[in-house]
């Protein structure tokens, strides 16, 4: 495209006048003000219990996506469950930052095993872990099980203790008790007083 000298000067003068007006505040562009997009609009909600202490606050996990077959859910936000009778939506600082706990790089994702004398933990299969725990429990129970104390039948196994979770449901607590007591274990504890 070609300009004559006169056209060029006109164009330059027009540009200058326009930018001066804009600089004075006569801007033609409408400035739109809008709040940040609400990030949970179509997130899927899952109810859960905070894993930390024994208060057992209800939380809602907000997952990306609608749980369609090909969509892999990622938890993007966690907040208190307003319908939960324990906390009614509130959380403590640890509970309020649960999403970082979920995505922590230090979180244990699979069973690991450090053999006696070894320095490093090694990844093992669940089968290996469960079998090894069962084997050790069985050996210890066979060696230390007390059937009688004097004349009284006691069926006690006192050399091993069991630590259960605090954020369990009634049903899970019932099953834990049944299994552990059936083995004769007397030292059963959970984190019910933090």
């Amino acid at each position: 495209m070609e300009y004559s000298r006169r056209q060029f000067v006109k164009l330059a003068a027009g540009g200058l006048a326009g930018s001066s007006l804009a600089a004075l505040g006569f801007s033609p562009a409408r400035v739109l003000a809008e709040v940040r997009e609400f990030k949970l609009a179509r997130a899927s909600e899952t109810r859960n219990t905070c894993p930390y202490c024994s208060v057992g606050c209800g939380v809602i996990l907000y997952g990306l996506g609608d749980k369609a077959r090909n969509a892999r859910t990622e938890i993007i936000h966690v907040e208190g469950d307003p319908d939960h009778p324990v906390n009614r939506g509130t959380l403590c600082p640890k509970g309020a930052s649960l999403v970082d706990f979920i995505h922590s790089p230090h979180r244990l994702r699979f069973p690991e095993y450090r053999a006696p004398g070894e320095r490093e933990f090694k990844r093992v299969t669940w089968d290996f872990a469960v079998q090894r725990i069962a084997r050790l429990m069985k050996d210890d129970r066979d060696a230390n099980f007390l059937q009688k104390a004097g004349d009284v039948t006691v069926n006690r196994w006192t050399s091993v203790a069991f630590l259960a979770a605090s954020a369990s449901s009634n049903e899970a607590g019932y099953i834990t008790n049944k299994v552990i007591r059936a083995l004769g274990m007397t030292a059963l504890d959970n984190q019910a007083r933090v």
Binding site: G25, V31, A33, V35, E79, G80, T90, C92, P93
Partner: protein, 293 residues
């Protein structure tokens, strides 16, 4: 669109009058300082919701952590320790934006639409429009906005405008486990504060007071202070107000003077040209020594 629930009442460096036909209720956050235990759940919830993560710092002799508000920490529990009559007092204060009715930051801001005030009282920063001049940090009577070293934009509490826009309470309010934080219409919050004030006075805090300073037209984050006669003890100014420069510099008068000066210079230049013509440079004065016929 979100604008339907949050009408814009005022915006920085605006040149047109905002619409005023609709009336929407004003919201407010009530911080009952007497109920706060300083657990920082609000701080965690704020960072979580707003996708912020401040750096892990070092212990500096106080429970205030991080040590100051920043582009990553929009609310901060400040632990003021003071000794009076031989007894140690711990004044825990939730710092952050107070969402003034007459915001000094908005008056100071030269970037169109970078600071917006909604009809419900929330003062929101739109970082996309921010030019990073930092005038708002000078204009704020409470020293709240923080200029980010990373992107040269200013950040502060939004009162979770994105949550309020869809009818939810701000994240800090929801998390507070002791009920020190409340959210609702400003009228309700003032009513609740008054009720609680009576409670506190009965229990010996005779000087308890509601902090809703008139100097900035009232705020949309109101504090109930057990030692209401000394807001400075909590780090709050006793009589905050918007500075004269911030109030005057974009006023009609200042702009009129500016435009008149500019027009005067143009007219004077034109008159000068008509009277004396173009500048006549003597041949010997040309820098390259060139002589034109």
């Amino acid at each position: 669109m979100a604008l339907q629930s949050l009408d814009v009442k005022n915006q920085s460096a605006r040149t047109s009058t905002p619409p005023t036909a609709r009336r929407t209720p004003e919201v407010a956050k009530l911080v009952d300082v007497s109920r706060c235990i300083g657990c920082k759940a609000c701080q965690s919830a704020c960072m979580e919701w707003n996708d912020l993560r401040d750096v892990v710092g070092v212990q500096e002799g106080s429970y205030t952590s991080p040590p100051d508000l920043s582009d990553q920490s929009w609310t901060l529990m400040r632990f003021h320790e003071e000794e009076r009559d031989g007894a140690l007092q711990w004044l825990i204060f939730k710092d952050g934006c107070l969402h003034c009715e007459d915001p000094g930051c908005l008056r100071a801001c030269p970037a169109p639409g970078a600071i917006v005030q909604y009809s419900n009282g929330i003062v929101d920063f739109h970082e996309e429009q921010c030019i990073g001049c930092g005038y708002c940090t000078a204009g704020c009577p409470f020293d709240v906005p923080r200029l980010s070293g990373r992107d040269s934009k200013v950040y502060k509490c939004t009162l979770c405008s994105d949550r309020v826009a869809v009818g939810l309470e701000p994240a800090c309010i929801k998390s507070c486990p002791t009920g020190a934080l409340h959210f609702g219409s400003k009228q309700d919050m003032l009513f609740e504060a008054e009720e609680r004030l009576g409670d506190l006075r009965e229990r010996g805090f005779t000087r308890a007071a509601v902090y809703d300073p008139r100097g900035v037209g009232g705020t949309h984050v109101i504090h109930l202070l057990p030692h209401g006669d000394r807001p400075e003890a909590y780090g709050l100014p006793a009589r905050p107000k918007v500075g004269l420069v911030q109030r005057a510099w974009r006023s009609g008068l200042a702009r009129g003077v500016g435009v008149a000066t500019l027009a005067g210079v143009l007219v004077a230049g034109l008159l000068h040209y008509m009277r004396y013509g173009p500048l006549d440079v003597p041949p010997g004065d040309r820098p390259d020594g060139e002589v034109k016929p």
